[in-house]
């Protein structure tokens, strides 16, 4: 984290690059079912990997419990969930997308299941610049009503270019910082920006009072809006 802070960070939301200004919805407008149905215990299953990095889901899995718990939810312990799924012969997120979601209720007592799809987990390196990109889709589905309660997606790009103005120094800085940057702090940023749109759970002090928060970029939550 420290070394990341020392980098010149440029965080872009790719979806916002278009010319139109984004429309923001309140959490209540974007996710009415979340407030009607409520959810408390969330099981996070292994992420579906659409990136080119084979180890992305495994590494990603160590980053998601903390922000979800801090948002007020009981998060079923991920290492145990992985082990229990492994006993059932499941190790890849893809295998779970067609499973009847009520199974997650009987197996784990979960009220909802969080499916994460990792779309990007890349390092791009070019002569005078570089960046690390992590992008993911999130979908929270009720294990009782089978409805989508919450969905959001985001991409975070951290620029690792040197910008001293000295070309040779920049080339060297870029090479070093791009090699050094872990994906994990970038994944933490994705989680943070995405979970900020999730209505908070019962362990959070603002539980039940955040429906008016206007923080949901409609374009990034479009699955629910449709």
């Amino acid at each position: 984290m420290k070394r990341l802070a020392s980098l010149a960070m440029v965080v872009l939301t790719l979806q916002m690059v278009g010319c139109t200004a984004p429309t923001f919805l309140t959490k209540g407008e974007a996710y009415p079912k979340m407030y009607q149905e409520g959810t408390n215990a969330i099981v996070v299953v292994p992420a579906v990997n659409r990136s080119t990095a084979a180890d992305a889901p495994q590494l990603y899995s160590t980053t998601i419990a903390q922000p979800l718990a801090e948002a007020g939810y009981y998060v079923l312990p991920i290492p145990m969930v992985e082990m229990m799924l492994a006993y059932e012969g499941v190790s890849e997120g893809e295998q779970l997308r067609n499973v009847d979601v009520t199974k997650f209720k009987t197996m784990f007592g979960a009220d909802s299941v969080l499916f994460v799809t990792i779309n990007q987990w890349d390092t791009n390196y070019y002569i005078t610049g570089g960046n690390v990109t992590v992008g993911a889709d999130f979908e929270l589905i009720s294990t009782t009503s089978k409805q989508i309660l919450w969905t959001y997606r985001n991409v975070v790009v951290i620029n690792t270019s040197g910008n001293s103005g000295n070309l040779l120094a920049d080339i060297i800085t870029t090479a070093i910082t791009t090699a050094m940057v872990d994906y994990v702090p970038v994944a933490h940023q994705v989680n943070q920006s995405v979970i900020a749109t999730l209505p908070v759970g019962k362990y959070h002090s603002r539980f039940g009072t955040d429906a008016g928060d206007k923080v949901v970029n409609q374009a990034l939550a479009e699955k629910v809006a449709q």
């Binding site: 408390n40 590494l59 980053t63 801090e70 009981y74 229990m84 784990f108 007592g109």
Partner: protein, 126 residues
């Protein structure tokens, strides 16, 4: 003297401010993020023991930091105890997870059944 008191007041004020800035989290996580990641990246005796120490540190120090113990900490210790052939220890940790978070009840139940089954298998083969 006045200067001295003023200094104390200012220092306290800064302390209070910084305390506010850092105390927004519900739970105490200690080194969890780092040790869980290291363990995933490279499972070894060293990373297992570092992660176990991080979990135990959370349990020992959460109260002192005025934070709660996060979901899953006891459960992860239970998994480690189970993997170290200590089913009694695993059972005790699971009970603690359940006491802290009743939402874990169903998972604990399923896990205990799994452990019993595994134990029976081990007896049958030994």
């Amino acid at each position: 003297m006045i200067k001295y008191v003023l200094n104390i007041v200012i220092t306290l004020g800064i302390l209070a401010l910084t305390a506010c800035a850092t105390s927004t989290s519900l739970y105490y996580w200690g080194d969890y993020s780092q040790s869980a990641y290291d363990l995933k990246l490279e499972p070894s005796e060293k990373t297992v023991s570092a992660h176990k120490n991080a979990l135990l540190d959370i349990i020992d120090n959460a109260a002192q930091k005025n934070k709660k113990i996060p979901p899953g900490i006891y459960a992860e210790l239970a998994k480690m105890a189970f993997e170290a052939n200590n089913p009694a220890g695993a059972r005790a940790f699971l009970e603690q997870e359940k006491a802290l978070f009743p939402e874990s009840g169903r998972m604990v139940e399923v896990w205990l059944e799994l452990m019993d089954k595994k134990g029976a298998e081990n007896e049958a083969t030994s």
